[in-house]
């Protein structure tokens, strides 16, 4: 099992879509912020503030990125980027374990 070391973790969870998407917020030693989360099967639309790097640790989902017309299938071990101040859609096909890193614009 790989780990994040020397991090700060917010105790209270982030809960979205009635608990179908939940996460914990971590702050790394360099000040960068990420969330470790779980998405249960379902369809969700997310809004971004900062640009995001979404790393999929496990699971399978389809994504529709802003400005695109074709859905892409993403599996555990793959990642994708999303721009800032935009929206993207996901169709989660199996329980998805992810890490969302907020990037400086």
């Amino acid at each position: 099992m790989s780990t994040f070391e020397n991090v700060s973790v917010q105790k209270e969870a982030n809960v979205y879509f009635g608990g179908n998407v939940t996460s914990r917020t971590l702050t790394l030693p360099d000040g960068s912020v990420l969330t470790l989360g779980i998405m249960l099967p379902g369809e969700y639309e997310f809004g971004t503030g900062k640009p995001e790097l979404m790393e999929i640790y496990d699971g399978e989902l389809d994504i529709l990125l802003p400005g695109e017309s074709a859905w892409q299938t993403i599996h555990g071990g793959q990642s994708f980027n999303v721009g800032g101040d935009t929206k993207f859609q996901v169709r989660v096909k199996s329980i998805t374990d992810y890490c969302c890193t907020y990037l400086d614009a």
Copy 2:
């Protein structure tokens, strides 16, 4: 928001009961281990290895502790202890955000 500082966090989630219960494992600077987790509404039975302190950050559940015949209702802000090498049952009534600390016997 309160935080845990200078901790190690396992990247991969712990996933139980088809994703209805998920958690992340943290190791604190003193070496103690805890999990921060979410339980969605439902009925679950958990087995313990080490004794556990269950702190409920948010939510509502009923618990049946080993050796007891009466269920107790636990709300956010409350906590309960469970012995080691035993089982306990929960009936989660609303999304429950918890912290499970593993105690030395």
